[in-house]
């Protein structure tokens, strides 16, 4: 099953979404997120740690503590969240390393790159706010392709 998004990415998105919907920007604790989103507590801990180090969330320690967003949800893209958790979006190593291991330049490389760009573009374009409000649906239309004439 190719092109998967790991649980890391999906858990992480669920987590920040939960923080985002908290009224009055109250801190949301790991326990709360873990319980409500069914994410293993200690695993979740790791994910929020990454997100904090990348500057997406801040933590508040002690009782009544938890996590809050560092920016408004409409200023955070889905791509940013995924990238913080799983690293840069890259379909192939060639793309991230910038060059192909093959002697003769691999002609497929530009194809992967284009595909990569299109997905990246989609993820860049959707904000956390749109994700939780459902507004993403207007932006991310089902793709329509021109059929070959039979």
């Amino acid at each position: 099953m190719s092109l998967r998004i790991s649980t890391k990415g999906r858990y992480g998105i669920r987590a920040v979404s939960r923080i985002a919907v908290e009224r009055e920007s109250l801190p949301v604790s790991l326990h709360t997120i873990s319980r409500e989103e069914h994410i293993p507590l200690h695993y979740l801990e790791q994910l929020l740690l990454r997100l904090r180090r990348k500057g997406l969330v801040s933590s508040i320690r002690g009782p009544k503590g938890g996590y809050v967003l560092n920016r408004r949800p409409d200023r955070i893209s889905v791509a940013e969240i995924l990238e913080a958790l799983e690293g840069k979006l890259s379909m192939t190593d060639c793309l991230s390393r910038g060059e192909c291991s093959l002697d003769k330049k691999c002609i497929l490389n530009p194809f992967w790159a284009r595909l990569n760009d299109r997905i990246q573009s989609d993820l860049d374009n959707i904000t956390l706010e749109e994700l939780v409000s459902g507004a993403w649906e207007r932006k991310l239309k089902p793709a329509v392709h021109i059929k070959d004439p039979a």
Copy 2:
């Protein structure tokens, strides 16, 4: 690094591409593909096995043998090749299993599904012929999104 295409998929596409460009549909041997595309022989062997079982290629045994395409390159989509090698394209298990493990329906599911559809659509739309000829570039335009007004 998320949303990767494994070597299985990339090797496989390179392999069928090599078979596709062989003039006069002569069979191309594993050795030839392995040598020219720098793919480990015995690994390649497995990949071609899958492709044969899925009906994309046929094998010819004995000296001067090798593999040939079962259909014209313009009748084989990139999606088919990838699916034969790596299984159905699916960003999340939820999508392939059809249902989410969460009690309350996960609101993110439709989002992953839409993203999935868009990629699938891209891959369905490009044929092997277009891939090797470079014609894919006309079909798969760089995505342009409407910027938020500042």
